[in-house]
Point group: C2
Chain length 183, copies 2
Amino acid sequence: MKYCSTCGHPVEQRVPEGDNRHRYVCISCETIHYQNPRIVAGTVPVWQGKILLCRRAIEPRYGYWTLPAGFMENSETTLEAATRETWEEALAEVTVDNLYTIIHVPHIDQVHMFYRATLTSENFGAGEESLETRLFALEDIPWDEISFPTVRRTLELYVEDVQKEHFPVHVDDIRYSMKPQGR
Amino acid sequence: MKYCSTCGHPVEQRVPEGDNRHRYVCISCETIHYQNPRIVAGTVPVWQGKILLCRRAIEPRYGYWTLPAGFMENSETTLEAATRETWEEALAEVTVDNLYTIIHVPHIDQVHMFYRATLTSENFGAGEESLETRLFALEDIPWDEISFPTVRRTLELYVEDVQKEHFPVHVDDIRYSMKPQGR
């Protein structure tokens, strides 16, 4: 951020009065431009015990398999965002079972939230952001070609919870590591 | 938003190629400025069966009682944000028990998340944004002077769940109503 989106003058980084963090502040109109984490919402779409995954047609991680998910938009709920993304990326209609994982990724200022969901029919396809979509039995999940750490963590938890037949809400963090997990 | 924060030229509202929503797009450098919901994180801080509430020293809702909560910052988790806000507003140190409520407020592009928490001692006080803080027995909660609908909903759920001795994660929405609930 270099310019004020309100008046077009340059911004500087300083700690506003009464605050304790550096913010972008306009040198002219003094508007404080706060920056906050974004939510990525998605589903674990299940059909007869198999999970629907999407092979990404866009960067980052082109060609890797992902759960349908994307940035939550203004004016919607995380559940609406999750089902919208499932439709857009997998052309799949789902009913949501429950909120399943909330995974913080603080080094990129994101919170990923996945809902457990059930396909309403065997109809699905590849949306514009997917090369293909496919149902995977749990033993066939392509672990070496998974897109993002939050998708991997959610799938790992799901496979464990299927054994236990119990699907609680999991709150977890993925911290930056010097050995990047492929992103 | 009137100006591009990257180059300072005016922005216009249009649907970028491959998108289906109006976005602010710079007429000069073509940067797309996405806008996304923000997370408010807080706690239900409990000490020996009583809930710690804060009387707001700032607008909106100056003088009303609230649970400690505030906007999540970059580089933190919702749990870290919730405990930070509890410290800043109530000078209270807590241990978090579990994620408790996730309440969407889509008409103001916010998601409020409250954790159940236990004070580590009877020490608390009024931070800069609080006029006073006080422990309330459940039967003494000042229902007529509660700050925001998400705080009210969370407190209502908590009072119910204390009866049931069961505190599941609640996912809920508060939609705009023509009869505003005081905000």
